[in-house]
Amino acid sequence: MGRAAVRLAAAFAAALVASGGAWAEPAYRLLPGGTLRSVLPDDAAGADVTVAPFQLRERPVSNAEFRAFVARSPDWARGQAPSLFAGPSYLAALADGADDAPVTHVSWHAAAAYCASEGARLPRWHEWEFAAAADATRADARDDPAWLATILAWYSAPGSKVPGAIGQGAPNVYGIHDLHGLQWEWVEDFNGLFVDADSRAGQGKRQLAFCGAGAVSLADRRNYAILMRVALLAALDSNHDGARLGFRCAR
């Protein structure tokens, strides 16, 4: 663990040095924040959560961008990253991936290191959920069944294809692309979503992933598209990756 931490710190330092170099500045958009009716409320009473203003990357990180990162920080190359931080299929699709497609098969640690190299971090769940509630014209489109159906249709398509190019559809009202319909995304606090600090809640919220127990602690049970995101994050460990799992950064 100690050695791995040192290597992570080294990678981080290398990334900071590299950031002095010249490459295209990734676009971030300012989101105003505010109160959010989250599927994972702040307390057992289902209170709205407050999201502070934050900047979110307009697009998910692409294969081209991640290849450049690995070139700057070889510690994060496939086969180099310690197994504690990256599983056997880490970056399995990077070599053959299209430049403009999102990077996949990336672990949480690698995603976090990448964001650090941009002077950023992974978005927190409530930030991601806040941004993903918007469609092209509305800040919160979640009560529109037609919009939810569009998102769900992505899950209905069989999963044999890898994600296509980034930014093919319209951006949402904040100018953010591809929060739905392209891939899954890491969030910074994926691992803490299900532990409830408030003991009055009784059962840990991790139970929400399962069967009827989910109905106890979820605030918006009709939003199947978002619930699937939560379920996926609950299924992950930080060194896991997946053929449709990528990320974007926030700051």
Binding site: S156, G204, F210, L218, G242, A243
Partner: protein, 504 residues
């Protein structure tokens, strides 16, 4: 580990506690587990079941179950993305013995899109294995439990949103045989009922998406056995000989609709109600809850078709909950006699019912003329209808037959021969051959009153059929080509015209 920590416990203390518990339990249990013989579960596609267990001592049963997201037909010409255990709906059946230790390996294939897990109702413990097996695509979860209580249990995916995972086909059953074993029978079958929610209506063609609102409203588009409309009919019908014993493991995956499970044409000798220990005898229909099961045993006595239905009958008639058991063997008229039908005597009292207001039917060919034509269709009669140029595509043909089986065969019989004096024949029918358009009109609008077909008089009522234009055209063409040796006679556009004319 910290994901599992409970409120109030720090990460470190919960990890330490878990480690202590693990050591406390593993140490004495390990030697016992090692002594168990290892059996790898044989997995077979439903309606087949793994063989009866003849072991008399416990074993460790290793089950390798894959999660597979697949697109396939839910009805002829209608496709849907199913999420499955083992590639089938229902999922592959697991068969163990009371007291066995089950080591389940759940593999979420890397090509899948979604996280999945499994909750087995045969597990004694919170979540039934759900927490232990929640995995993203490209991962495997291993989970071990002891099968303490014999019975027939449903298993299902329990990942949020659970209703959607189950509605897409993620359920199956595990049979825990009692330690004393189960009596041998001639046939064992595995059937599960499930409800499906598609954006299009029943049998609308093409690829259909899941309809969240219909699911929440509990208004299924399909209620079917073994994951598809027609999974147990036609060539897929279950088979038995008269006098052979049949045991059926029947469950309901849901997610919402319970079953009034009934087999038309037999009486269950035994029903192990709710899949439990005790049986009731001589049962006609048994109620099966969603997430529940039953074991039924019966012996067909005479040849013919037995029909599996959910006796909430519009599900059977309009949503697909139909299956068949094809029984062969010797006729036994002392049990099941042939019927005799005759007209009432002329002096029998008339009903005081209001006379039909339907206008007299259009003139039909004279009896003699019809007889002269005989069973062979005249080219002239068929040629009067402008035939679409191309022969129907195989998929259209398959679809047409399915439409026929579901909507026409109950009265006009699967072979189209009808029932003399009651339901007019469609096969080798002079009426059909001479007036195919009128046949489409009847399907569209229904008909009552007198009718002469092949010289025989009929006076019944046929209700309008709620079918799409495509399906009406397809089924009329099917009757023409397959039952009357003719050509396709009309297309959906023509039916649309007829429908429009009706609504004017």
């Amino acid at each position: 580990m910290n994901k599992n920590s409970k409120p109030g416990l720090s990460i470190v203390s919960s990890a330490a506690l878990a480690a202590a518990i693990a050591m406390a339990f593993v140490a004495p249990a390990a030697p016992a587990a090692e002594r168990l013989p290892v059996v790898v579960q044989e997995l077979v596609a439903p309606p087949a079941v793994p063989p009866r267990i003849t072991r008399t001592t416990p074993a460790k049963v290793v089950v390798n179950l894959t999660v597979e997201e697949v697109e396939r037909e839910i009805a002829p010409g209608t496709r849907y993305t199913f999420w499955t255990f083992g590639g089938t709906v229902p999922g592959k059946m697991i068969r163990v013995r009371e007291g066995d230790t089950v080591e389940l390996h759940l593999q979420n294939l890397a090509g899948n899109k979604l996280p999945h897990n499994i909750d087995l109702h045969s597990v004694t413990g919170p979540g039934g294995g759900a927490a232990q097996t929640l995995i993203a695509p490209g991962n495997e979860a291993e989970f071990t439990f002891k099968a303490l209580a014999p019975g027939l249990y449903v298993y299902h995916c329990a990942t949020a949103p659970v209703g959607m995972h189950v509605a897409n086909g993620m359920y199956g059953m595990i049979l825990v045989e009692p330690a004393e074993g189960m009596a041998p029978v001639d046939h064992e079958y595995y059937v599960m009922q499930g409800d499906f929610y598609t954006t299009g209506q029943y049998r609308a063609g093409g690829l259909q998406n899941f309809d969240m609102q219909k699911a929440i409203d509990e208004k299924p588009t399909y209620v079917v056995f073994n994951g598809a409309d027609g999974a147990l009919t036609g060539a897929n019908a279950l088979k038995a000989k008269a006098g052979e014993s049949v045991r059926m493991f029947f469950g309901v995956g849901g997610p919402n609709i319970t079953s009034s499970f009934h087999v038309i044409g037999t009486i269950f000798d035994k029903v192990y109600t709710e899949g439990g220990k005790h049986f009731q005898e001589n049962v006609q229909t048994t109620m099966v809850p969603t997430g529940g099961s039953t074991i039924v045993e019966f012996t067909p006595r005479v040849p013919g078709e037995l029909v599996l239905v959910d006796h909430s009958l519009t599900r059977a008639f309009n949503k697909g909950a139909i299956g068949m058991i094809s029984v062969t063997g010797e006729e036994r008229p002392e049990i099941y006699a042939k019927g005799i039908k005759r007209p009432l005597p002329a002096d029998a009292p008339m009903l005081a019912a209001k006379p039909s207001t339907t206008p007299a039917p259009a003139p039909v060919p004279a009896v003699k003329a019809a007889k002269a034509t005989g069973a062979v269709p005249t080219v002239k009669a068929v040629a009067r209808a402008p035939a679409p140029a191309a022969a129907p595509a195989p998929a259209t043909h398959l679809r047409a037959r399915a439409v026929y089986d579901a909507n026409c065969s109950a009265c006009h019989q699967p072979d189209g021969k009808g029932v003399p004096g009651v339901f007019p024949p469609l096969a080798n029918s002079d009426f059909f051959q001479q007036r195919p358009y009128e046949m489409a009109h009847i399907v569209l609008n229904g008909r009552s009153g007198e009718l002469v077909v092949n010289g025989e008089h009929y006076n019944g009522v046929m209700p309008p059929q709620d079918l799409s234009d495509d399906d009406i055209a397809a089924v009329i063409n099917y009757i023409s080509t397959d039952m009357n040796n003719g050509k396709p006679v009309l297309d959906a556009a023509k039916v649309r015209e007829m429908r429009a004319a009706r609504s004017k």
